[in-house]
């Protein structure tokens, strides 16, 4: 393992310290927690948005704390959900009297820890609602299983639910629009190389130089198929096709996100994006807005994901609304 760090067990605290040092006018770290909150939190009479999860997905989630997106992000250990007490601190810190909305990625640990925090907050009389993001089409959905994972599409939930809250939407309004995004967003990823959790010290899996893994999760958890590496066009086709098969995008307008997993150069992301646009044009799907870059990474993993969000007028307006955060501006 070769990493720039001081102590593998302190990477999260060390990172947060540097993060706050980089954006001192925008964010603050709640004392003795791993919570990054807006400098001006709580914003009175605004629904507070809290998200978070394991670390290692930077800029998610602290990078999305700011006007028009999140009020707080809770950082867990690397790839490990934060604990209920931390999430509870975040909820309390952003409660401006209009309730608090939780954006949770669909992983067993995240759901349990955030729900325990929500129970603690409810016991204190804070109104809490939540949405569970499950955009990853690589994983089969079923009411009998854990269900699909939440990956890069989560950023669209942050953006759109955050805009709704900023415009003065009620807790129920924010929940409704967040659910609309979840219903209309799908993603699919792939990886070329594994990543190494600092405290584990060795790669999460092994993969040959000429192989790629389709459907890879954002924690190095295995995907659905391993095969010989293909061209960027073929990769774009496979990922996009899988997304398009899942919900009917025909005749619709979409937002596209081509997300890098950590060590894939922007050059490669743009190559993938070019083919994604061609495919969408062939299908008569209009691209309203495109995002290419690192939005939800997996430490130093090489690979990418493709996300499509089907838009209506409300979602378009909220996607365009002002956002001022360290990692996302509009």
């Amino acid at each position: 393992m070769k990493k720039i760090m001081n102590d593998p067990n302190q990477v999260v605290q060390d990172m947060l310290k540097g993060f706050v040092a980089a954006f001192p006018n925008d964010v603050k770290q709640l004392p003795n927690t791993t919570v990054i909150a807006r400098k001006n939190a709580p914003v009175s009479n605004k629904v507070g948005l809290v998200s978070g999860g394991g670390s290692g997905h930077e800029p998610a989630h602290a990078g999305y704390v700011g006007k028009g997106m999140l009020d707080a992000a809770v950082a867990g250990e690397v790839f490990t959900s934060p604990t209920p007490d931390q999430v509870y601190e975040a909820i309390k810190a952003v409660d401006g009297g209009a309730g608090v909305f939780l954006v949770i990625k669909n992983y067993t640990g995240d759901v349990m820890n955030f729900e325990m925090a929500a129970e603690l907050a409810a016991a204190e009389g804070i109104d809490v609602e939540q949405v569970i993001v499950n955009d990853d089409v690589a994983v089969e959905d079923s009411s009998f299983t854990t269900g699909r994972r939440g990956i890069a599409g989560t950023v669209f939930v942050h953006k759109i639910a955050g805009a709704k809250a900023e415009q003065g939407g009620s807790l129920q309004d924010v929940k409704a629009v967040a659910e609309k995004v979840v219903a209309n967003v799908r993603s699919m990823g792939m990886a070329l190389t594994p990543c190494t959790v600092p405290a584990a010290g060795k790669p999460s899996f092994e993969i040959d130089d000429n192989e790629m893994e389709i459907g890879m999760g954002i924690h190095g958890e295995p995907g659905i198929e391993r095969k010989e590496i293909a061209s960027a066009n073929e990769i774009a086709e496979e990922l996009t096709q899988k997304v398009l098969e899942d919900i009917d995008y025909s005749g619709s307008e979409v937002a596209v996100m081509v997300n890098g997993l950590g060590s894939t150069p922007e050059m490669e992301l743009f190559i993938v994006n070019a083919r994604v646009h061609e495919i969408l044009a062939e299908k008569g799907i209009k691209v309203y807005k495109t995002f290419v870059g690192e939005y939800m990474t997996s430490l130093e993993m090489a690979g990418c994901s493709v996300t499509l969000l089907k838009l209506d007028d409300e979602l378009k307006e909220l996607l365009e609304a002002e956002a001022v955060t360290p990692a996302f501006s509009s």
């Binding site: 250990e77 604990t83 067993t108 089969e140 994972r149 405290a199 584990a200 999460s204 295995p222």
Partner: protein, 206 residues
């Protein structure tokens, strides 16, 4: 044989030793079918538990197990924090006022702990989770009027090994479907350590 503060402290110490010694093994099991953090999280959490319990005074098993629960919930994260935290919290509530905790009171506590795990994790037996160790151990405890530590450990071991052939439908291993087969469930292995440590304490106390 009954459990008092002293024996439960010993139980937790032995469990921590096993987790620290097998940290990498647990992580490697989790890397195969999960996200590779089980050993790291359990080791961090139980080290915190030991830091807490060795510097505190307890009058009852209930107080002690409650502290274990609160420490696990606030220090572990992931899925194992809420699950083990809930288990110890329910056990603590169940054995309140029952010191020293005899076989029947402990069995009732394990029943409550298992209920808590299942509620929190929304898991049933046969889904390749720690429930697959806790449920057979509970049945064993219910079928016997004494602890019988040797058989208790054996029951937990057989149960842990049985998770190898199960296809996961809960937790992160569920994403692998058939590919999860042939691997032990990491949470079942740490639960085996928990009951193995308990059996060792009971054996020494006989």
């Amino acid at each position: 044989m009954e459990l008092n503060v002293q024996s439960v402290l010993k139980w937790i110490e032995k469990l921590n030793d096993k987790i620290q010694n097998n940290k990498e093994y647990l992580t490697s099991l989790d890397q195969a079918i999960g996200d590779g953090d089980h050993g790291i999280n359990m080791a961090r959490g139980f080290q915190e538990v030991i830091n807490k319990t060795t510097t505190s005074q307890y009058d009852t098993v209930s107080d002690l197990t409650k502290d274990v629960a609160m420490t696990l919930m606030s220090k572990v994260g992931g899925a194992s924090g809420p699950l083990y935290g809930t288990a110890f919290l329910k056990l603590s509530m169940s054995v309140k006022g029952k010191d020293p905790v005899d076989h029947d009171a402990f069995t009732a506590g394990v029943q409550e702990a298992l209920n808590g795990i299942q509620q929190r994790g929304k898991a049933n037996e046969g889904e390749k989770t720690l429930v697959d160790v806790w449920a057979p151990v509970l049945r064993f405890l219910q079928e016997n009027s004494e602890f019988e530590p040797g058989k208790l450990e054996e029951t937990a071991k057989v149960a842990m090994e049985s998770t190898k052939d199960i296809i996961a439908i809960r937790g992160r291993a569920a994403y692998l479907k058939e590919r999860s087969k042939g691997h032990l469930d990491p949470g079942s292995v740490s639960s085996f350590y928990l009951f193995q440590s308990l059996a060792e304490v009971l054996q020494e106390g006989e």
